[in-house]
Symmetry: C2
Subunit: 730 residues, 2 copies
């Protein structure tokens, strides 16, 4: 057994290396498959500009209030080839370009070149202001892919005799790419997919139609058989109330109809709605209204089912909520803002690891958020959102093992961290300066003054992330620096904020003095960041998390972390009950997707209001979908213990359920888990997995050797593709 095992591991290690490589380049490409390439990060910036400038509010353009960056407009691409025979190579380019073989330019803008046999450098240089300079090179061996090198400044000059400079300060990165694998689908033509959907109910009047699409949805309204002359208005509603509130609904469209013959017209901008109220003047007639549902085609790899139908419903609605908000990027909500908010996106990354495992969606979002240097404000102007960006990279590396991403973007991590460090006060602490939004959460009366403990905690974790990444890129000097800064700051967290009487971290210091206020934020993060000792954890659990006197959280956003902290403390039973109350509470109110904020104390239309507007609240917000993450990580209990699931843990927790089952995706294969109080069945993915469980009796399995850690705690090692059935008693 041992011998076989070791052989297997050795083979697996090799295979793992190869598959890990493919995963980094995900979506994986067949060898010699050409794909459109660009300067890494640039398509993401460009596409995010397009998306984030699509927001309207009651027909007015509503763009972001932070700096938007642009792609490099002049980019150099090259790769060295060694060909046995000459080959004909087709070129497609976005922009004005030249192509050179061994530095010699070919006249004009050729669509086809011949690369001779032997060793040759093929280079293209592309200028494009409105779109991202991008190339598609299709030969047999000469194909454009992630192995090409790119730069935005080649710094290659010649002297008066024509001799090229012999020293170059040029930084070459690996080309960026996604899934544009045909010459005919350049990056600038990117669109989400659509499919037609019909309303489930239509109320028709002489000059109006009220449609109900049955659930929250997103897409382009299509007016069929439109004819006549006059105005037509479309009022969108996530609720029926909103669609009918023509003066206060958040989004609307207005068109001038002037059609002698019947015509189908599709709206230019996609919108979020369940209800649509179409009103038109007397001269206008209309056969039908349908919609084109707009979506990112990405399949679920994870899944969850259990013995409780309400939890299954919560999982399904979370899944749907998450899909609706997983688009060009991970967005906050589909009605507004459809912007990329780093704190919101951070939660989507985590959910993604348990549902889609779609790394391009994570990196697209991280890159769009980061944009370009110089850094002139925090990400989204929010201090905490800058830190989530760093921590998101930490998680991304842990789940995917993608070192290339870190190698390529470490300089952008550094310059953003430099910005943060330059804004510390004299105590070395973060404090909101002019122009800094200290967000934390939507919570009434929450103080943002002085040195907020929560922000220092996130900075500490960000510094730890920087140390990890410095190590990956062999920047030893800065690895030491970041580690030291993190250690110092963590020490300050406790000297400055821990209050023995309150058994908790206090909320803030103002003018160098602890405030009396205790909030949940820093305390709950400190638990799953593992910054607390066992006694402190129990203190926090009792005096903060399970203490009703501490201000309650009303956003799914922060409930995410609150429940995660409780899960990390083994309180799955409590969490399950909370989940049923809170998410179940929204379902009971008829939610078909989860909301931006939910306060069970509110009544009727109060639920729709926010930001001082009667329908300001988003009823489909990504951060509402956290059960995907909680159920995957803390009930199925699957999580990596080293980067890319090279080692991982499976610790199923029923939390009071009779049985649970599901799948958790990894870079190479899914981990499948079934668990009841008597039986556990797990199928391993690549990497060394460890099933850990408690049992009252001595457990047994035919499929592997069970090790006893204590008298009721057991472990079993998992290998890829193998299924392990364990009989035990909870």
């Amino acid at each position: 057994m041992m011998k076989i095992l070791s052989t297997k591991i050795s083979l697996k290690t090799k295979l793992l290396a190869f598959l890990t490589f493919l995963t980094f380049c995900s979506p994986t490409l067949a060898q010699n498959q050409a794909t459109w390439i660009w300067y890494p990060g640039d398509f993401e910036v460009w596409l995010s500009n397009k998306m984030q400038n699509r927001r309207t509010e009651r027909g007015s353009f509503f763009p972001p209030f932070w700096k938007l960056d642009s792609h490099y407009n002049l980019v150099d691409f090259h790769k060295d080839f060694d060909l046995l025979i000459a080959e004909e190579v087709l070129l497609a380019v976005e922009g004005q370009f030249n192509v050179k073989i061994d530095g010699k330019a070919i006249t004009g803008f050729p669509k086809k070149i011949t690369v001779p046999a032997g060793k040759h450098k093929v280079s293209l240089k592309v200028f494009c202001q409105d779109r991202v300079p991008a190339i598609f090179v299709q030969g047999k061996k000469v194909v454009s892919d992630a192995s090409w090198l790119v730069t935005f400044e080649d710094k290659e000059w010649i002297d008066e005799t024509g001799k090229a400079s012999d020293q170059s300060g040029t930084n070459w990165l690996k080309a960026g790419f996604w899934n544009f694998n045909s010459a005919l689908t350049p990056p600038s033509k990117f669109k989400l997919e659509t499919k037609i959907q019909q309303a489930v109910k239509t109320e028709r009047k002489a000059q109006s139609l009220l449609l109900d699409f049955g659930k929250e949805t997103f897409g382009f309204i299509k007016l069929q058989g439109l004819k006549g002359k006059g105005k037509l208005k479309i009022y969108y509603g996530e609720s029926k109330e909103e669609a009918l509130a023509t003066e206060t609904c958040e989004t609307l469209d207005e068109i001038e109809v002037n059609e002698a013959k019947k015509k189908d017209i599709t709206m230019e901008l996609s919108k979020a709605f369940r209800f649509v109220n179409v009103q038109f003047e007397a001269g206008v007639s209309l056969d039908e209204v349908s919609m084109l549902y707009e979506f990112l085609p990405v399949a679920d790899r994870g899944g969850f089912r259990c013995s409780d139908e309400q939890i299954n419903k919560i999982y399904d609605v979370s899944n749907y909520t998450f899909h609706l908000n997983t688009r060009e990027f991970f967005i906050d909500g589909i009605k507004r803002d459809r912007w990329i908010w780093s704190g919101d996106a951070y939660q989507s990354y985590l959910m993604n690891y348990y549902l889609l495992f779609d790394s391009p969606s994570v990196t697209r979002t991280l890159l769009a958020l980061r944009g370009k240097d110089p850094v002139t404000s925090h990400i989204n102007t929010i201090m905490d959102y800058t830190f989530y960006w760093f921590i998101g990279i930490n998680d991304y590396y842990q789940y995917t093992g993608d070192k290339t991403f870190i190698q390529q973007f470490y300089p952008r991590m550094q310059s953003l961290m430099d910005y943060c460090l330059s804004r510390r006060n004299n105590n070395g602490m973060m404090e909101g300066l002019t122009g800094d939004w200290v967000f934390i959460d939507w919570a009434e009366g929450l103080s943002k003054k002085g040195e907020v403990s929560f922000e220092q905690l996130l900075l500490a974790r960000s510094l730890e992330t920087m140390a990890t990444c410095a190590n990956i890129v062999n920047d030893t000097k800065n690895e030491v620096k970041y580690k030291q800064l993190a250690t110092e700051l963590k020490a300050k967290l406790f000297t400055n904020y821990w209050n023995n009487e309150k058994h908790a971290l206090v909320h803030s210091r103002v003018d160098g003095k602890q405030t009396e206020n205790v909030t949940r934020y820093a305390n709950m993060f400190a638990i799953f960041f593992n910054y607390l000792d066992e006694a402190q954890k129990q203190d926090v659990k009792k005096h903060v998390l399970l203490n009703d006197k501490i201000q309650k959280i009303t956003t799914p956003y922060m409930r995410f972390y609150e429940l995660e902290a409780l899960c990390a403390l083994g309180e799955q039973n409590y969490v399950l009950k909370e989940m049923k109350d809170y998410w179940g509470g929204m379902l009971n109110l008829g939610a078909t997707s989860f909301w931006e904020e939910y306060n069970p104390n509110k009544k009727g239309d109060e639920h729709y209001a926010m930001y001082g507007r009667p329908f300001g609240k988003s009823l489909c917000h990504a951060w509402g979908a956290s059960p995907i993450y909680l159920l995957g990580k803390y009930f199925l209990g699957v999580k990596p213990t080293s980067a890319a699931y090279k080692t991982y843990l499976v610790e199923p927790q029923l939390g009071g359920l009779e049985w649970i089952e599901g799948k958790v995706p990894t870079p190479d294969g899914d981990v499948k888990v079934y668990c009841s109080s008597k039986q556990i069945k797990v199928t391993g993915a690549a990497g060394v997995g460890t099933l850990r469980f408690k049992s009252k009796i001595k457990p047994n399995s035919k499929d592997g050797e069970i090790k006893a850690l204590t008298n009721d705690l057991y472990e079993l090692t998992l290998e890829k593709g193998n299924t392990y059935e364990v009989f035990y008693e909870l």
Copy 2:
């Protein structure tokens, strides 16, 4: 007389303040004249991308090799108005936009709004990726102009109740503008003007036409009465030899003709040429070839005439050379590169002050060169070119007094200086690092190794510029810092490079040791930077400038400074002879514009070659036009002695000529000068002018009081608009 004078000055002071204001905003705008506005510097960056990516070399696209930046794609504009009556306001916008009155958005993309009476804030926010976000607002009082404020990040968030943030870290700049004064001519439509020109001579053969346009020119070739089917090629030549050298001429066009009927076709790209060789296949016929001369419409304000017809010719050809190279920006040369090179442009700024006094051409060029942060290389990758950028701002302020430019762009000056300072070696000196091009001049065997004295000298002057600008923006802390750095570096110049045996600054230090090499560069700049004491000046004059053993300069680029240094030493007679030899030498070879390089020792076609290519040399290079500057500043002798000509000096120098006369433009009026050996006649401009001259006899004038400084040196104070005739004897 005294009383009248003082009254006049007081009035003049007020008038000056107003006129200076207008000059800053030059081209001046009538009150309530609407003009297109944008984020300052952005149109310049955008237009320079367009222009610099128009270069082709033998039909291949030939873009710059440094980073090109982009405009901010999302820009906020606003201004507060106080209206007696409501007014209707027309809007024209480049990009997707919203418009708000007092923060409340108006639905859609209105072309017309009504601003009510009273105090109101009008704001527009514009997104545009391909062009520069720009607005044109035309009401009665509500008009877009340079007084609007703009930003690329407004950082205005709201809390969950809809309350706007009460602290903003937003930097607002004054809007950028030029001369787009009609809604119908948005910035993106900018084009140079054109006018038709005919060849002066045409040699026609069955399948070719060889045209001579009589002199160097620039524009679009127009093929008239083109018919038939087949290929047509156009070979451009600055010389006849080049146009005929179809295999090696630098630029060409190739088109496929397929016209059943006669048609006129104009080439898409403008080119530089005197000769054009049109060759076509048998199936093609052609009536005629003409051209559209392409130019920036900007009038001469300065002028120069003298008793020597060759010098007049040199002045005229300099003038024409300068006009040809004054386009969207000050470019290097019209055949290639048509890029903006900071060292080349620096000379154009100086010439401009003596010919066009067109400040927008200076600021357009400075802004295009600087681009955006982050700084990733020296300007044009060249260390010295970064320094010329700073020094160019020093001069710009001296000649125009434009504080607004400095206030708006001081942060970009700082970040570029930070880049420079961060690249000093352990001795605090600049030394070429990987990726730095140390250019200095095109000169055979010129060493760029180690710490080159010339570069330290330019850095010292750049630091002095920073100190001046820090003072203007009231950045006292950094003013002190920059002054100190400049003082320290200037001291090092002499301790490290001055060699008493060589009576000069040596060229460089390598490994901390002086080299033996003496070149002209640092020495001649040290003269007109006034870094040398009188004895050192005389040493340098004798042992370097007038020493034939020191490597000669063969580019008009460095001859500019060499002759300037000699002029500054009062060697106008010598300079005049050199000018006649050198520029006259080019004229004798048939030059109709001045060249990139001229070596009198070369013969025939050798003159055309450079960069290892037979026609690589540009025969129309801006830096060839320096006589404009030398004759204006050192013969007419007019120069500001404080910013904006508030005080200025007129010191005419005949340099051996019988008489000279001319005009020098200032921010407010021209200084007119006539000088012979017996008579000087000067008309003053605004500001306090001082005519200074030597005379063997006691001079006399009816127009003002002549003060004797010494027994042969005299002064007379000049006032605006007054003409002063002085009789004296040289």
